[in-house]
Symmetry: C2
Subunit: 478 residues, 2 copies
Amino acid sequence: MENKEFVKDLTKMEDDFAKWYTDIVLKAELVDYAPVKGFMVIRPYGYAIWENIQKVLDAKFKELGHKNMYFPLLIPESLLNKEKEHVEGFAPEVAWVTQGGENELQERLCIRPTSETIICTMYSKWLNSYRDLPYKYNQWANVVRWEKTTRPFLRTAEFLWQEGHTIHATAQEAMEETLTMHKVYADFLKDYLAIPVIMGQKSEKEKFAGAEATYTVEAMMHDGKALQSGTSHYFGNHFAKAFDIKFQNKEGKLEYAYQTSWGMTTRVIGGLIMVHGDNRGLKLPPKIAPTQIVIVPIAQQREGVLEKTEELKRKLSTKFRVELDDRKEVSPGFKFNYWELRGVPVRVEIGPKDIENNECIVFRRDTLEKETVSLDDLESKLENLMEEIQENMYKAAQENVVNRTFVAHNFEEYKDLFSKREGFAKIMWCGDRECEDKIKEENSTTIRCIPFEEDKFQDVCSICGKKAKHMVYTARQY
Amino acid sequence: MENKEFVKDLTKMEDDFAKWYTDIVLKAELVDYAPVKGFMVIRPYGYAIWENIQKVLDAKFKELGHKNMYFPLLIPESLLNKEKEHVEGFAPEVAWVTQGGENELQERLCIRPTSETIICTMYSKWLNSYRDLPYKYNQWANVVRWEKTTRPFLRTAEFLWQEGHTIHATAQEAMEETLTMHKVYADFLKDYLAIPVIMGQKSEKEKFAGAEATYTVEAMMHDGKALQSGTSHYFGNHFAKAFDIKFQNKEGKLEYAYQTSWGMTTRVIGGLIMVHGDNRGLKLPPKIAPTQIVIVPIAQQREGVLEKTEELKRKLSTKFRVELDDRKEVSPGFKFNYWELRGVPVRVEIGPKDIENNECIVFRRDTLEKETVSLDDLESKLENLMEEIQENMYKAAQENVVNRTFVAHNFEEYKDLFSKREGFAKIMWCGDRECEDKIKEENSTTIRCIPFEEDKFQDVCSICGKKAKHMVYTARQY
């Protein structure tokens, strides 16, 4: 009874995907709405996911020789204005500080929407010789972008992220760094979040304001829409010229440095939810789940049950992230729903009968299957299960991508496609902005990326019929 | 030659302690001044110290059952205004956001100077039953306080910190939490930063705006001035009443919750520098040093030297945080100074002769002593040395505290003392604000804390001669 009501609370994803999403983020206590419009509070369970993401990424960055730093939150307007394309892209969506303490400021300061301008200013001051290069630095920080329409994790006025900022002696090195980090993001999504991605380059229209080239990892949500999940930018020496970042090369001559930046944000948590979740709630891949195993005692008032579950928790905790739910005031059924909603990959149930038989029941969240397992084999069973679930979740997500990826040979086909369904539509593209604008105006779709592997299926642009340059992925986006 | 110039660059601490401090933070590349007045850039070496501090504290918080969350950066003015004492304390020093994107905001938003008001708002919304309590949450964040006079780490317009915010069912539990965290800070300073502290309570005048009681750990810098290094606040149900944080108790009645908050900031890095540093630069305790051992090859162009140092680095890296400085363009002497300035606890020098003899030279930064060590014994020698240095640094700091702690029996003695030297002066205090104001006006000293162990040395107030209530520590402060 309690049980059913709990599930009834959750909007079904096929009825209203957006409402389903909001239900989950709130009911699984990942976030809450803040008293300021567009801002979110990240609650402990949501933040624990972010901490796991940070841990993996940070270790990877360091392994590749990056170090962390911290730059100021506030950026003077004059600095933001230094790079023309950059300011045009960001100025309309920044928050302005105009008063400090009791005084009106002489120059207004924006809260960083991203930190290129302030970081470039310091790099310009620090850099002397080719010997100092490369600078491979990263920062974990909060940024603010004054968005009009917001949704928890996906688009919020403030979000958390990491922003890597590197400078190099040559264009080639900088491009290599850009592509290395592009791959780091793709691998992270695949290997840890169990999210398949399309890797590729953004079109001129969609690239980062001020970049020469932007690379993106694009993920498909369960409903077929795209989520841009991590971007890496190659700047050439564009910002270096605007900010005067120069070094003495081996021959003693002054040269401009080549630059990159790359970022991943709390938005990927939104992706995690929308790729894997179902009508029972969240579904978390074991590698990133704050709790990998929850132990639920059955008939816990009976002698020996709690002792056994506590013993089990101690034992399993040496290898896994484990919770024991020994609350007295709620039933096992309530607990099942509670932890399924929170996406915990595995549940272990154990009651007096099981203890007698030296066994327990193991439930996996991804397939909803139950199995009886001998307590002697439990640890090795669980180890295998973690891998199996991780792989199986990736496969399920990959299947969705395959099922929802289409080819459009001409604009009629294209419009027909997006009038009926969501998904990735591959099109051949002439490269003109006109065709890019046209698909957006008439279908609200955008070019997600020009993939590295261009599977060219015809010679003419699917939109205008002129000669095609690229095969591109298009979709509606979050 | 190179060598000497390098050291000459550094102001001597006995000549100008403030200048010495600034020299160190800049030359050791811990921070740099940002393009916005009062803000700092934390450079990789400085940030690596902060990361080590975070790692230790965060693990301790979690061990004690705290979880991390993240609350919004911006707080509406109306929320800040809800608790009278709090707003009076903080409103004069906040930065105000008045414009978001292209629009004037209807209500101005302050950048959090601390997060009580926004956290209380959410706690009020979330809390239902005594079963939900305690809430033991923490956040790692940046805060902004519009300070007029700033110095890197010690007082900056923006700083990084952690702020713990807990609520409890009873006053006793909340008080226990406050004191537990007070002890966590004291132990952390002692055990990791090798900084001895005085633990105690702040006076009414010096306590946190809105708190019922503030506990502080006070450290003495090398020059005898005090640095408040971590505070824990007990709020009673003061904020709970202002923000309506209520829960249903076991009897089904509504009650206000009891609350605490506690914080430690990047300021302790300033303490680390000013407690341990000397005229060669920083001196870092091994437990917190980003690099514990630097290996400097001697005559590195000679055959076999670099191979040997690389082998050594690989070997030692399994147990220690090790750097190998194999730069070709600078001399060993330059490297010695470079790493001494950065406070690396141990240097290992090894050249062709040493390799022949299967030995190396081990230099310790705390005592500046050199010793020849057999390569066979090196690992165990270094393990012992790390502990020895950590202890020795604590002892040296403790000695400074003992040497610079005085007793003042009357106001003449007190004034005489602070006209000649810096240090902690213990006084007996009647408890009146008047005497507290008087010492500040005439000596620029403040009551640092009322220690738990009140070593009462006379019955009358050292300032006014009336009946004394407490023995207190006073000092000039950073």
